[in-house]
Symmetry: C2
Subunit: 215 residues, 2 copies
DNA sequence: TAGATTGTTAATCGATTAACAATC
DNA sequence: TAGATTGTTAATCGATTAACAATC
C-alpha cells in the first residue's frame, strides 16, 4: 500500500485540483468519477485509480465530496503549507513571475529577486525587492529558501545552480532552456521549457488532418 | 510506414532538437545513439526508435550526422517555415512573451498585441504594437494569423477563443489556467499551465526521500 | 576485413481500461 | 430494499527496452 506513484499520475493531480477548485467555486458539493470524467474528458476508472494511489476519499454509492477531495489533493500536492520563493533574473520572464498573483499568496510567497543589472538592483518589481546577484550567497546563508525560480540565460544557469545548491535551496523551477534535472541530486528541479511546448504546437500544425509524418 | 506517432515521442522531439543544436554549436559533426543517450540520459534504443518514426536518418556503423539530423527534426517540428503570431493580453506574461527573442525570429514572428486597457493601446511592447481588443476581429479578417498566444484571465478566455476560431486562427498557445483543448476542434490548442508545473514541483518536495504518499 | 552502429522485430514492462464484488 | 458508485483486481493495450541481422 505504501506507494510508488507513477509520473503519469503525478502530472494529472494538478488538473484534478484545478477542476475541483472550480466545482467548489460553483457550489457543487458532490461528484462521481463518472460525472467528473465526462467534464474532464477522462475515463472514470482512471480517476478512481489515480485517487486511490493516495487513499479512499470517496463513499460507495455516493461519490466524492468536492471540498474534501479538493483539500486532500491540495495536501498531497503540498499546497497546504507555505513555500518561500526567490526569483533569479529580473528580465521579462522573471519580472512577469514577480507579478504573478499565485506567487504572493499563502502557499507561495516571493521574498526576493536577484539580478546582475545594477540599474535594477534596489528597485521593486511587483512588490518584490531586487538584490544584486552578489548578495545571493549571503541571502541564502541567512534565509530559508524553498524554491528558486531560475530565469537567467542558459549560459549563467549552471553556475547559479551550484550556488543555490551550496546555499541549501530545496528546489528549482527552471525556465532556462536546458535540462537541469540530472545536474543535481540534492535539489529537486522542474524544467518548464516554454519553447518545447511551442514547438510541440508547431509540430501539430505541420502534421494535422492526417498528414502522415512518414511517406 | 505512414505513421501514427505517439504523444510520448512527439513530446521528446523538442529535447532532441535542443540537444542537437547544442552539439552543432559545439562543432560536433557526428554522434551515435549510444553517446547521445549517455548525454541526454535516455536509452539508445529509444532514441533510434523515436527517430525512426520519421525515417532512417542515420548510417549503419557511423551514427548520425548532427547537422543533418538537427535539420530533419527541425522540419518535422515545422521550424523550417515561418509562423505569424499575435499575443492576446498585454499583462505581465503577454508583455514578457513580446520580449521573448524566439518570438522575433524567422520561425515565429510576433505581429501584434491586443489588450483591453486603453492606457496600453497605441503603445509598443518589445517592438510589437498594442491594439485594442475591439480591433481583434477586423485584424483577423485582414491578416493571416498562425498562432494566437492567449494571456488573459480565465474568465475572458472562452469568449476570445470563439473570436479566434471565427477569425480563422490555426492554433492557440494557451497560458490561461484552464483546459481549452477540448473546447474546439477546428483549432489546435496547446495548454501551458505554468501553475501545474509548479504544483508538481511542490508535490515532489512533499514526497521526496521516500515519504510514502500512503501510510 | 573487423568493428561499430543502425533499423527493426521481438520481449518486457507499465499504464490504462474494464469488470465486479463490496457497500453506502 | 434497489440503485449507485466506490475500491480493487484482472485484462488489455501501448510504450519502452532488448536483441540482432543488415550493412557501412
Amino acid at each position: 500500500m505504501a506507494g510508488y506513484v507513477s509520473e503519469a499520475v503525478i502530472r494529472r493531480l494538478p488538473g484534478y485540483y484545478r477542476h475541483l477548485c472550480e466545482l467548489e467555486a460553483m457550489g457543487v458539493k458532490q461528484i462521481s468519477s463518472q460525472e467528473m470524467g465526462r467534464q474532464m474528458h477522462l475515463i472514470p476508472s482512471q480517476i478512481r485509480q489515480d485517487i486511490n494511489c493516495f487513499g479512499g476519499f470517496g463513499r460507495k454509492g455516493y461519490g466524492y465530496n468536492v471540498t474534501s477531495l479538493r483539500q486532500h489533493i491540495g495536501e498531497i500536492l503540498g499546497l497546504d503549507h507555505p513555500h518561500s520563493v526567490i526569483i533569479i533574473g529580473a528580465g521579462s520572464i522573471g519580472s512577469a513571475l514577480a507579478h504573478y498573483p499565485d506567487f504572493h499568496g499563502e502557499t507561495f510567497d516571493t521574498k526576493a529577486l536577484f539580478d546582475i543589472d545594477p540599474a535594477r538592483v534596489g528597485t521593486n518589481i511587483g512588490g518584490v525587492p531586487v538584490y544584486s546577484m552578489e548578495e545571493l550567497d549571503s541571502y541564502l546563508a541567512s534565509h530559508r529558501v524553498d524554491i528558486a525560480v531560475l530565469c537567467v540565460p542558459k549560459e549563467a544557469a549552471q553556475e547559479i545552480l551550484n550556488r543555490l545548491e551550496a546555499g541549501g535551496v530545496s528546489a528549482v523551477w527552471n525556465f532556462a532552456p536546458l535540462d537541469l534535472q540530472h545536474e543535481t541530486d540534492r535539489m529537486l528541479v522542474e524544467n518548464v521549457h516554454l519553447s518545447d511546448s511551442l514547438r510541440v504546437l508547431s509540430y501539430r500544425m505541420a502534421h494535422q488532418d492526417g498528414d502522415a509524418p512518414k511517406e
